[in-house]
Amino acid sequence: MRQTMPVRLGAAEDTLIAQLKSVGADATAERITVAGLPTRRVESYHYTDLKTLLRTIPPLAQAANEASAPALRVPGAYQLMIANGVIQAASTAPAGVIVGKAHGGVLTTRDDVLVHLNGAFAKESLTLTLENSIDPVIQIDRRSEGEAAHVTDSLKVFVADGASAVILETFSGSDAAHVGNHATYIALGKGATVTHITVDLSPRAAAHFASNEYHVGEGAKLRTLAIHAGAGLSRTQLFPRYEGAGAHGDITGLNLVSDGQHADFTMDALHAVPQTTSQPLFKSIARGRGKAVVQGKLVVARDAQKTDAKLMSQGLMLSDEAEILSKPELEIYADDVVCGHGSTCGKLDEESMFYLTSRGIPKEEAETMLVRGFIEELVDPIEDEALAEALHGIIDGWLLGGK
């Protein structure tokens, strides 16, 4: 007989349970009551022990009265804003973009506390239907404003067959200890091409959680780039599903962590049908006592023959105290596939440093060049020049800003 031990609940869990009950999410409240927040004993949270890292939960967000300055402006972008979970009135949408709202959250249920919490707290979701190829970058500006708040928001995007779009999501807000739980669901129709970029620019005091679910249809091409460059604690969960032959995903992520920060990418990808491909690539740069985590899981379904998937994680340590943790997982049920994973981690190459400095480039500048070079592979495929420039600006801001 299995003995059940009551879980000792902390202040964060008590607050969460009360908040869940206040919105009528009794089932989720019950889950937290029984299991608590995940600890290192839960495999998918092994390196990001929420029970230890998340000590307090601020009050549920109220509609915002004021807004901080936009964290990122991309010239020519079509902007939509969600502030403290409330969808703001938008300017006229470009042709082919239908903007709407839906009740509740968007993520498919799975055994994950962040997904459960988002579903419980999301009152409404912003929905976008892209009927054809959209030229301007579509920016979803997600804000957590005012006093420290527990903010939940949600976005669902349908991309029509053959359409293409670049979707940028930025997360920012007032300088307070917000806890943000964000969801994005993107469905790509046949032959659709989508670039999805998420950039966390939350204040250092905040905790940033995002769960991105992708449904990639037949012949569709998905490229993602998630950048952690803000919150003290951040975790972006990526759930791509390749659901039609010829579906392809370049799932990429960049952890930029400084002293005291903890950033985590956790991917759980499913190759559901035959002949789909993916090339997930995660890069982490850590300095001070920063800690970066990359967990990548590739699941190949039983009949998903001819799957070709390669997972790569590369880490660059800029200090002796920095930590970069990388865990690949392959779960393959088909027998005719090419799947692999690789991981590298190291400091800046001394030979490269000598080469650059021997040309008169000072040490600090040479380091910056090499770090930029390390990252370039992620930004280079982004074709929109204004967007690529904005992303370079964020990366440079991190590189040149303090240790």
Partner: protein, 253 residues
């Protein structure tokens, strides 16, 4: 007598516990090209790295004077600004950094350190185009990441392009002929010869006489066991080619 561009006095250097340079003395007056020949492992490349300031080597004794100024306390970037340029035997590949971006950073870093203004983009482009034409370097090559996927010849031509743009007082060419076919060797040598100047000196390190038919030296030195054991005019190189290095081993012992 005018100050020589390079003066090395009794230079000793080691890597970890192993002494590699064992008392090098070498003076190169302005405008001269000196060649150092020696077999593999004699310490020739170490000399080039020590001149450029590579950290792995520890100088235990002696001095290196560039235009009369001791450079041993300078880091590699400061030495470059002072006028040393090392053309690498194996140029390093730097992924993600476009060659053009790198060239501009290097030129402007040196100008800034000398208190000169940054080169404007049109002036920079003009300088690169001018220097590149002579070396058969087109703009496509310069858009690629630095040395990444360059052929052996492209790498060496890119080194000489950097040399032409940075206008150093002392060029140190480490085995510039390695990995080059005859055609590439001619292009590279032509590029080097175009940089010969009354105010510039060169130290050409090689173990084949072949290169010295193209870049004709004023003085040839034979390097063995961490020091110069013989010096002479360009005929010394021919002599070496004919007889090998054995005659010079232990010449100073």
């Amino acid at each position: 007598m005018t100050t020589p561009i390079l003066e090395i006095r009794n230079l000793h250097a080691r890597i970890e516990e192993r002494e590699i340079l064992k008392g090098v003395n070498l003076t190169i007056p302005a405008g001269q090209v000196h060649a150092i020949m020696g077999r593999n492992g004699s310490g020739k490349s170490t000399l080039s790295y020590v001149l450029a300031g590579k950290e792995d080597y520890e100088v235990t004794e002696g001095e290196i004077l560039l235009n009369g100024e001791n450079i041993l306390d300078m880091d590699p970037a400061e030495r470059a600004v002072a006028g040393i340029f090392l053309a690498f035997q194996y140029p390093i590949e730097i992924p993600g950094v476009a060659t053009m971006t790198f060239l501009k950073a290097a030129i402007n870093a040196q100008r800034k350190a000398r208190g000169e203004g940054e080169l404007s983009t049109p002036d920079f482009m003009r300088a690169v185009k001018e220097a590149g034409t002579q070396l058969n370097i087109d703009s496509d090559m310069l858009k690629r990441p630095l040395n990444v996927g360059f052929s052996g010849g492209e790498k060496k031509r890119a080194e000489i392009l950097q040399m032409a743009l940075l206008k150093p007082a002392l060029c140190v060419l480490d085995e510039t002929d390695s990995g080059l076919d005859i055609d590439a060797l001619q292009v590279v040598s032509k590029g080097v010869n175009a940089l010969r100047d009354a105010n510039r000196s060169m130290l050409v390190i090689t173990h084949y006489q072949r290169l010295l038919n193209h870049i004709v030296p004023d003085v040839v030195h034979v390097f063995s066991d961490g020091r110069i054991v013989e010096s002479g005019d360009k005929d010394l190189a021919l002599q070496l080619e004919a007889k090998g290095y054995a005659d010079f081993d232990g010449a100073l012992a």
